[in-house]
Amino acid sequence: MKDVKVLGPGCKRCTATAEMVQQEADRLGIAVAVEKVTDMAAIAGFGIAATPGIVIDGKVVHAGGLPKPEDVARWLAA
């Protein structure tokens, strides 16, 4: 089970990013627990300057803007 956090204050892109992560994980058959982190202090604690951000198993893999689905798949598979 991969632990995925989507960092963002709840804007449209953040929701879309969380959905994309879940979709790609389902497509690849990878078990994930997606958690949305909306608390500003918690988001800032990951050291990113733009949202949405994606953290997989504690490692920041993306910050700022809607990611490409193929990149999400690559991060999940890594």
Partner: protein
């Protein structure tokens, strides 16, 4: 949006075909642009309207300006989308961390224009900058320039008021961001941040920098067009409709007395009026253009526009999460005074 919009086939990922397609689209763009005025005049002539009477004048304005503005906006947004693919907030932060005030303010204002920025990530960006050691005043220079000098404002000013006004807006916007940031930095207000922000020290995350090819950058421009033009076109049309109404029906000299350059108090009034209003450049610029034709002064109307965009109430509410009320008051005061100065300067220069 990384997926192609409905009805449009996904583009191939190769560079060659993309450049060919881009060149073709540019030619098509130029051809359509050149035929706008004749087409608008032809349509108005087909209708049982007097081209010189208010309804005819308003309709001609609307029919010509709507496609013209949307075409020019698309071009500017595309170019900015490509330029912005060279920058990221993380990279900008690395460039600004530990900079001295002064040089740092100039760099931050400049980077504010080219770094991808969305007001929904203003707070994480603010925290990210401050906690990584970017001085407070430098952070503010960035946060003032980023939303105010944006491609939509520049594109629309260029389309409706000419490149001189767009360039002047760019120059004064940068100057305002630099000076206001430097003033806030000089006041040493770090203690007025919310305590949890002040005490936060985090190492910037090491995110892999994506390697982008030319094809990726062209894609970034296309995505910017789909995203931004897709979002603001209703505002543009609404703004031009209001502008068309003003062109057609508002008497020529009505506004000279209240918004003209001889009414010195109109600049502060425009700034104060702009703060609670929330719109974006797309809706404001066409109205500004129409007001100018009725005797309003350029500086007054641009001060109004800057105030609406840079000092919007919703953004202040968002910033309240990280700034104390005192610091927000200083921010509004310094930026408001700056906009006042810009308004008076514009009135003096373009009078």
């Amino acid at each position: 949006m990384s997926t192609a919009s409905p009805g449009r086939p996904a583009l191939p990922r190769a560079t060659g075909p993309r450049i060919a397609l881009l060149a073709g689209l540019l030619l098509l763009w130029a051809a359509v642009y050149a035929s706008l005025l004749p087409a608008a005049e032809w349509i108005v002539r087909q209708l049982p309207l007097d081209a010189e009477a208010p309804p005819g004048r308003a309709l001609a304005f609307f029919l010509y300006d709507t496609p013209k503005v949307l075409l020019l906006l698309t071009l500017v947004v595309f170019a900015m989308g490509v330029v912005r693919s060279f920058f990221s907030p993380e990279r900008t932060r690395a460039l600004l961390a530990g900079r001295r005030e002064g040089v740092g303010n100039v760099a931050a204002a400049g980077l504010g224009i080219v770094t991808p920025f969305c007001s929904c990530s203003a707070v994480p960006l603010f925290i990210g900058f401050v906690s990584a050691g970017v001085p407070l005043g430098v952070t503010f220079s960035f946060l003032i320039a980023a939303p105010m000098v944006n491609e939509v404002a520049l594109g629309l000013l260029f389309a409706l008021l000419g490149w001189q006004v767009a360039l002047a807006y760019l120059g004064f916007g940068l100057m305002l961001a630099i000076v206001a940031g430097a003033v806030i930095g000089r006041l040493k207000l770090e203690d007025w941040l919310e305590p949890w922000v002040r005490d936060l020290r985090v190492a910037p995350a090491a995110v892999e920098a994506p390697t982008l090819t030319l094809a990726d950058r062209i894609d970034a421009g296309r995505e910017a067009v789909v995203d931004i033009v897709g979002r603001v076109w209703p505002w543009v049309i609404a703004g031009i409709a209001v502008g068309a109404f003003i062109h057609g029906w508002v008497p020529e000299t009505l506004l000279a007395a209240i918004m003209g350059r001889d009414a010195w108090w109109s600049v502060p009034a425009a700034v104060a009026l702009g703060i609670p209003m929330y719109s974006n450049a797309a809706g404001i610029v066409p109205v500004v253009e129409a007001l100018l034709g009725k005797g309003a002064a350029l500086g007054t109307t641009l001060a109004f526009m800057m105030s609406v965009i840079a000092l919007s109430a919703p953004e202040l509410v968002i910033l309240r999460k990280v700034l104390t009320v005192r610091l927000i008051a200083v921010f509004v005061g310094v930026v408001g005074l700056g906009i006042l100065a810009v308004g008076y300067l514009f009135n003096a220069l373009f009078g």
